[in-house]
C-alpha cells in the first residue's frame, strides 16, 4: 500500500504542525507515508470563486503528483471534497467545451484514491482507537464540507471518543456553518464575521479548553474570531489530537 500525504497549501504554509501530526500518526499506525514535492494546492479557492480555468492546471498537477500511489490522505475535509466533487465537474465541462477528455481522465485518476484523514483511518485502516492521549476538554465543530459533501458522519467523533483523557463537550448548533467560506470571508466580511462570532460564542459556552475540526481553514477563522473576542479556547486540528500520546510534547498544550 503506497500512501501519499496531500498536506494542502494552507497547512503547508501556515499550519505545518498539522502535517507533521498526520505523519506521526500514520507512522505510529504502521503506515509508511510519502510526501511528493510536486503537490501544491487543490485549486479550491480559485474554483469556488468562479475561476474554473485557473483551476485546471492544478487538477492536472494533483493527478500527476499522486500517480503511482494507492491512497492520498489529506487533513482537510474541504480539499478532499474539492477533489471528489469538483474535479469530475471540471473534467466534464472541459469535455463539453470540446477540449477533450484529458482533464476528465485526470479527475478519474485522482478521485478514487483521495481520502480525508478520518475517512482513511476509519474506512481504510479500520481503526477508531489510534492510541492517542489528550488530557483536555474538547468540543468538535463538524465543518460543512466534511459534514455535507464528504458525509464524514460520526467518524471524527468515534476517533475522539477513543482518545484517552479527552472529554468531549457537545457544541450547540454544531452543524451551522462557522462563516469562513473561503473568499466569502473577504467578499461578505460582515456576514462572515457575524456567523463567526455566533460560532465562537457557542464554542465558549461549552467550557471546553479546545475546539477541534477536520479543517484548518475553518479553524483559522474560528480561532481568529475567538482571539479577537478575548476567548482562551484553543483551535486544534483533529490530527494533532490523534497524534498526541503520553510521550509527545504536544500534550502539554
Amino acid at each position: 500500500m503506497r500512501v501519499a500525504l496531500f498536506v494542502t497549501c494552507v497547512n503547508d504554509t501556515l499550519f505545518p504542525r498539522t502535517g507533521r501530526a498526520v505523519v506521526t500518526l500514520l507512522e505510529r499506525l504502521g503506515v509508511e507515508v510519502d510526501f511528493p514535492q510536486a503537490q501544491t494546492c487543490c485549486g479550491q479557492p480559485q474554483f469556488n470563486t468562479g475561476y474554473r480555468h485557473e483551476t485546471e492546471p492544478l487538477v492536472r498537477r494533483y493527478a500527476t503528483a499522486f500517480d503511482g500511489y494507492d491512497f492520498v490522505v489529506t487533513p482537510s475535509g474541504s480539499c478532499a471534497a474539492m477533489v471528489r466533487d469538483n474535479y469530475p465537474r471540471i473534467g466534464a465541462k472541459a469535455a463539453a467545451e470540446g477540449r477533450g477528455a484529458e482533464l476528465a481522465e485526470a479527475a478519474a485518476r485522482a478521485v478514487p484514491k483521495t481520502y480525508e484523514l478520518t475517512e482513511f483511518l476509519v474506512d481504510v485502516l479500520e481503526v477508531v482507537d489510534v492510541g492517542a492521549y489528550y488530557p483536555h476538554t474538547v468540543t468538535y465543530h463538524p465543518t460543512c464540507h466534511g459534514l455535507r459533501l464528504l458525509g464524514l458522519g460520526d467518524r471524527p467523533r468515534r476517533l475522539l471518543e477513543h482518545v484517552r483523557g479527552l472529554e468531549l463537550r457537545e457544541l450547540p448548533g454544531a452543524e451551522e456553518c462557522c462563516g469562513f467560506g473561503g473568499t466569502f470571508a473577504l467578499k461578505n466580511a460582515a456576514v462572515s464575521a457575524a456567523m463567526g462570532a455566533d460560532k465562537a460564542r457557542s464554542i465558549t459556552a461549552t467550557g471546553a479548553d479546545a475546539v477541534c475540526t477536520v479543517d484548518n481553514s475553518c479553524l483559522m477563522h474560528i480561532g481568529g474570531t475567538l482571539t479577537r473576542l478575548g476567548s482562551t479556547v484553543r483551535p486544534v486540528h483533529i490530527a494533532e489530537i490523534l497524534a498526541s500520546t503520553e510521550r509527545t510534547r504536544e500534550v502539554a498544550r
Partner: protein
C-alpha cells in the same frame, strides 16, 4: 399607494453589512428561522421514504422541464376546453399589461390578491396602481408588508423581519388608509392581531369582483390549477369574485395528478412543517353556478426559457417555493431578505435572479457570492437543487463572462466590473501554485519575515483582520521540514 421597490438597491455585501448591525432584525430572524427549521426537521423525519420522495420530485420536475413545450400546450388546451382563457407573457411588462387590461375590462378599480410570488416578481401591484387599480393583499404577512409600505423579505413569511409589536403599530397606523381601521386598544397578542386582519379583510372579500392569484401547480392533463395555503384567504379570493386572473410561471406545470401527489407531500412539510396544509384549492376552468364566471391564466416566461438553456443553472426551475433553503441558511439569517434585492431572497434567490434578470446590475452580480457554500440549502431542498453547484457556476459567469441565452438568442457577456484585481491575483496564484519552486520561495520569504508581519492587514486584507486575528506564519513550511528531516536523512 405604491410601496417601495427593489430597484436601485445596493449590492449584497453593502446591504448585508447594514442589516447585520440591526439587532432587532437579527433577533426576529433568528427566532423565526430556527423555529421553522426545527419543525421542518421533525416533519420530514416522520417519513421514512423522504429521500425517495425527494428524488421523485426532482425527477418529475426535470422530465417536465425537458418537455416543457409539450406540457404547456397540453395545459393550454385543457384550460381552454374547461372554459378558461390562456394568455402568454414573454416578460413581466407584458404580463402586467395583460392583467391590467383584463381588470380594466371588468370596470373594477379594486382587486383582491392571493399571495403570489410570480406577481411579486413582476411588480404587478405597482403596475396596477399606475392604472388606478388598487390591489389588496389578503395573506396576513403580505398585508403587513403592504400596510407598512415595506418589501417582502421571505418567500413563505414575507413579514418575517417584523415582530408582534411592530405589526401592532403598523395595523394601528395604517389599516384605516386601506379600509376598516384596527380595533381600538389593539394589543400585540397574536389572536387579536389575527382578528384585526380578519375583520379588515372580510370587507374586501365580500366586495371584490376581481381576484388575482398565482398557482403552486398546473396539472397539464386536466388543466387544473392548485393553490396551497394556510389562512383561507386564498379560498375566499378563488371562489367569491366573478373574475379570477392567475399569473403563473411556466415552470409550475406538472404532467399528471399522480405527479402532483408527490409535491403535495413534499411542499407542506418543507414549507410550513405541516403534514398537510390547511387549504388546498383546485379549479379547472369555470363551473356553472360555482366560483368565478371568468377565468384567465397568464403564463409567464420572464427569463425562464433562457434559464432552461443553461444545463447547470436550469435546475433552479425545479423550485417549488417552499423556502426551506431560506430557513436553514446562515447567511439569510444574518443578512435578512431585503439584502437580496428581489422577491426571491435567500439561497434560491441568489441562483434564480442572476438567471432570470441577468448579471448586468451590481446587485445581481453580487448574489452568487452571497453564500459560504455550506450546503445546508441543498440538504433540505425537497427537489434536490444543488444550490452550491449553481452558485459556483454563476460566479464563473460573473468573473469570466461567457455565453448565455438572452431573449432566446445566444450572446457572449463580458466579465462583470470590479473583478480585474481579483482576476490578476488568481492568475498570479495559479502560476505560483503550478511552480512548486516558486511556491517554496514565497513560503520561505513569508517565514523569514514573519516577525515583521502586521497584526492588522492593509488593503483588502482588512476585511479579514478587522474581526479576526491573523494567523502567525510558522518558522518553517511543511515541505521544508519534510526535506530537512526525511529526504536529507535518507540521502
Amino acid at each position: 399607494m405604491s410601496g417601495r421597490t427593489y430597484l436601485g438597491l445596493p449590492a449584497f455585501p453593502e446591504a448585508a453589512a447594514q442589516s447585520t448591525r440591526n439587532a432587532t432584525l437579527r433577533g426576529n430572524l433568528r427566532r423565526a428561522t430556527h423555529t421553522i427549521r426545527d419543525k421542518r426537521a421533525r416533519a420530514v423525519a416522520e417519513l421514512d421514504d423522504w429521500q425517495r420522495l425527494r428524488a421523485a420530485g426532482a425527477a418529475i420536475k426535470t422530465r417536465t422541464l425537458r418537455h416543457l413545450d409539450h406540457y404547456l400546450g397540453q395545459a393550454e388546451a385543457a384550460v381552454t376546453a374547461a372554459g378558461g382563457q390562456v394568455h402568454w407573457a414573454a416578460d413581466g411588462a407584458e404580463a402586467n399589461r395583460i392583467v391590467t387590461e383584463l381588470v380594466r375590462a371588468t370596470g373594477e378599480t379594486e382587486v383582491v390578491k392571493v399571495k403570489s410570488m410570480a406577481t411579486q416578481e413582476i411588480g404587478l401591484n405597482d403596475a396596477l396602481a399606475g392604472a388606478g387599480i388598487t390591489a389588496c393583499e389578503t395573506d396576513l404577512a403580505e398585508l403587513i408588508v403592504q400596510l407598512g409600505d415595506d418589501l417582502p423579505s421571505h418567500i413563505l413569511v414575507p413579514a418575517i423581519h417584523r415582530n408582534r409589536s411592530e405589526i401592532r403599530d403598523i395595523f394601528r397606523e395604517r389599516m384605516a388608509d386601506w379600509g376598516r381601521p384596527a380595533p381600538d386598544g389593539l394589543t400585540d397578542r397574536p389572536a387579536e392581531l389575527a382578528e384585526a386582519a380578519r375583520l379588515h379583510l372580510r370587507e374586501k372579500f365580500l366586495r371584490a369582483k376581481v381576484a388575482v392569484s398565482g398557482a403552486n401547480f398546473v396539472v397539464a392533463e386536466s388543466g387544473t390549477l392548485v393553490v396551497v395555503e394556510s389562512e383561507g384567504n386564498g379560498r375566499m379570493c378563488l371562489t367569491l369574485p366573478e373574475t379570477l386572473i392567475s399569473v403563473v410561471g411556466i415552470e409550475k406545470v406538472v404532467p399528471t395528478w399522480q405527479d402532483l401527489e408527490v409535491f403535495l407531500q413534499l411542499l407542506p412539510r418543507s414549507s410550513t412543517a405541516e403534514r398537510m396544509n390547511p387549504y388546498t384549492s383546485m379549479w379547472t376552468g369555470t363551473t356553472d353556478g360555482d366560483g368565478p364566471r371568468n377565468f384567465h391564466l397568464v403564463l409567464l416566461d420572464n427569463g425562464r426559457t433562457d434559464t432552461l438553456a443553461d444545463t447547470v443553472g436550469r435546475q433552479a426551475l425545479r423550485c417549488i417555493r417552499c423556502s426551506a433553503c431560506l430557513n436553514v441558511c446562515p447567511v439569510y439569517e444574518r443578512a435578512g431578505g431585503h439584502a437580496y434585492g428581489s422577491a426571491y431572497p435567500g439561497p434560491i434567490g441568489a441562483i434564480l435572479m442572476p438567471q432570470l434578470r441577468g448579471t448586468d446590475s451590481e446587485l445581481d452580480a453580487s448574489l452568487p457570492f452571497a453564500s459560504s457554500l455550506c450546503g445546508a440549502c441543498y440538504e433540505v431542498c425537497p427537489v434536490a437543487i444543488d444550490i452550491p453547484e449553481v452558485l459556483v457556476h454563476l460566479r464563473e459567469r460573473v468573473v469570466e463572462g461567457g455565453e448565455v441565452v438572452r431573449g432566446g438568442t445566444k450572446v457572449t457577456i463580458r466579465p462583470a466590473k470590479g473583478h480585474a484585481a481579483e482576476r490578476a491575483a488568481m492568475r498570479a496564484a495559479r502560476w505560483t501554485l503550478d511552480h512548486p519552486g516558486a511556491l517554496r520561495t514565497a513560503q520561505r520569504l513569508a517565514s523569514r519575515t514573519r516577525r515583521l508581519h502586521p497584526r492588522r492587514l492593509p488593503g483588502p486584507g482588512r476585511a479579514w483582520s478587522d474581526t479576526r486575528a491573523v494567523p502567525e506564519v510558522p518558522a518553517e513550511p511543511f515541505r521544508d521540514w519534510w526535506r530537512r528531516t526525511r529526504e536529507e536523512s535518507t540521502k
